[in-house]
Symmetry: C2
């Protein structure tokens, strides 16, 4: 898992180079007609990429986005009125039975379907009208890392393509990712104090709500910590009541539109004497944290989810080792889970 | 909280009677034009009602549904292409600043807006094109119960109205709710064994994924148990790794389309020696549970979320008391939370 985490800058760069021309052509075709709705379909870690895409695509294109509920298609066998919609399946393996069933039923309903996958020969690639392949290389760890960030890269490319922009701003993302990897010694130094943590809360907002959800799933599957993910707004509507002295809360707080809310939450957590670990480049929130993790680069809000999840991935992998588990082979899991 | 839980059959009946005529007229008007998209906007407990509505409306009407991300509107100030869409705000108080901002921005974008609220004189009622008022009466407990199930009732009515059905099947829901209240002694009997529970997982699928999410939020805000909600499919994609001997898992398992999946999960939990509490009317899953809670009536899948959440509400209220907390006044919360 740690080795694959370190492969990310190269994998992101390869993915951008390999698919930018075709993505750009797809954008021209899709912009020629007006798309009323984008539907994203995924499970597990890929569903966290979809959650990111949900915010990214609405913010950058103004097209409404829905995260598909596979059971509506697979168990209730309801065909939705998706004529004209763009339906995007996201799957590392491309073999998720339920995801593929949603793509098939959407296609029959008149939607244009895309596959974002790490396997260009998968069943998903056969079903979709167009397939874009992440260049993560084979992922051996059950806990997905490089395929997740490469899915984010493909979604950035799709957003640029739909908006008619060029891909120039995306070229800096591999560098942001490389800089974030430099946090490894710092994280190795703090992990020991979480050795006996059994439960925690992970908070982010908007684009980084996906990072919160992804760190939570990594902590659950590699370190068996019950980690609950919240957007900072939802957290204040009830679950904040949980927080007592020393309760561990992890926060993703890049500068930008959501920063003020997260800083206010960090201040409230400090008053509650919670144990907060904060990922940020900003002094004004780091100084409120019990455990500040200072990001080495000040990255624009929109491009923060990749460099911000990387220290989270390192944290999960190192915590698993500290607790005596193998992050590569979680108990009771296999690389491909089939659900309907 | 317990008193308000018991007021639900009457409140549901009042809500149905009071709003059915206007809802039916709205249905005729909306069916005259084709609605491409329904967007649901809510926070906290109302967001769990929205999650229920997301499944219900897609299953019954075939119109795609999106759960709004308020920050896209409030922080990123992006106007979405929502012309022709039906945007439905759900809020007990009708005073949620962010929810109201989303309704306003959707209205400017050309959407038809509805308010589902317990306060017909709220700001939300002033903004929306049409308002439907739940007849829950004033809710004094900070932990919402009767306003939640009345929101579900309004969503059932909206689904029937959009589908051109009558409201007859809904008339039985207050009886289902009354029968579920008979579970109180059984639940009072089992709560003690959860006295020291600090974390758990709550699982449901499709319509009852909302019940899982709602029980989880009730456990967090009244009993300070870290309760993580999952759909059974998502749970198998990673988080199931958490489950070790005696790990507490709560399952909502009504008969119907999702039953087979939940029964398979219950069998797996038994092999893992987890501590499972199962809400169901079905012997074949109750016999797999560590702690079976047998629903007195066999309720159709579609109408199960109200009678199934009621024993969950009772459980949360009784557990709070057993732990020595007041379920009516959780620490650090007030009835109205304002977020942007």
């Amino acid at each position: 898992m740690l080795r694959e985490i370190h492969e990310q800058p190269a994998a992101l760069d390869r993915t951008l180079r390999a698919e930018q021309r075709r993505m750009s052509r797809l954008g021209s075709r899709l912009r020629a007609r007006s798309i009323p709705l984008i539907v994203l379909v995924a499970r597990g870690t890929s569903d966290n990429a979809a959650l990111f895409g949900r915010y990214l695509l609405e913010i950058t294109t103004g097209i409404p986005v829905s995260l598909a509920a596979p059971s509506v298609h697979t168990l209730y066998r309801r065909r939705l009125a998706l004529g004209g919609a763009l339906v995007v399946g996201i799957s590392q393996s491309g073999e998720g039975t339920d995801i593929n069933a949603v793509l098939e039923s959407s296609k029959r309903a008149g939607a244009t379907t895309l596959a974002l996958t790490n396997n260009g020969r998968s069943r998903m690639a056969q079903i979709a009208d167009e397939t874009f392949v992440s260049r993560a290389g084979r992922e051996r760890s059950v806990a997905a890392t490089k395929t997740y960030t490469c899915q984010l890269m493909l979604l950035y490319m799709l957003a640029e393509a739909l908006g008619g922009g060029d891909f120039d701003p995306l070229r800096r993302i591999p560098d942001y990712a490389a800089a974030a990897l430099d946090l490894e010694p710092r994280i190795a130094g703090v992990v020991e104090r979480y050795r006996f943590m059994e439960r925690c809360v992970v908070v982010g907002r908007a684009l980084n709500y996906a990072s919160a959800s992804e760190l939570a799933i990594k902590l659950m599957e590699t370190s068996y910590v019950l980690a609950e993910r919240f957007s900072s707004a939802d957290f204040l509507h009830g679950p904040v009541a949980l927080v007592e002295r020393h309760f561990p809360v992890f926060l993703f707080a890049p500068p930008g539109k959501v920063f003020r809310d997260l800083r206010a939450l960090a201040a409230r957590l400090r008053r509650l004497q919670a144990d907060s670990l904060v990922f940020s480049s900003e002094r004004s929130i780091l100084e409120l944290a019990t455990c500040p993790i200072e990001l080495p680069r000040r990255v624009p809000d929109l491009y923060s989810p990749i460099p911000y999840i990387i220290p989270g991935q390192i944290f999960a992998a190192r915590l698993a080792r500290s607790k005596g588990f193998s992050p590569d082979r979680p108990r009771g899991l296999s690389k491909l889970t089939r659900t309907l």
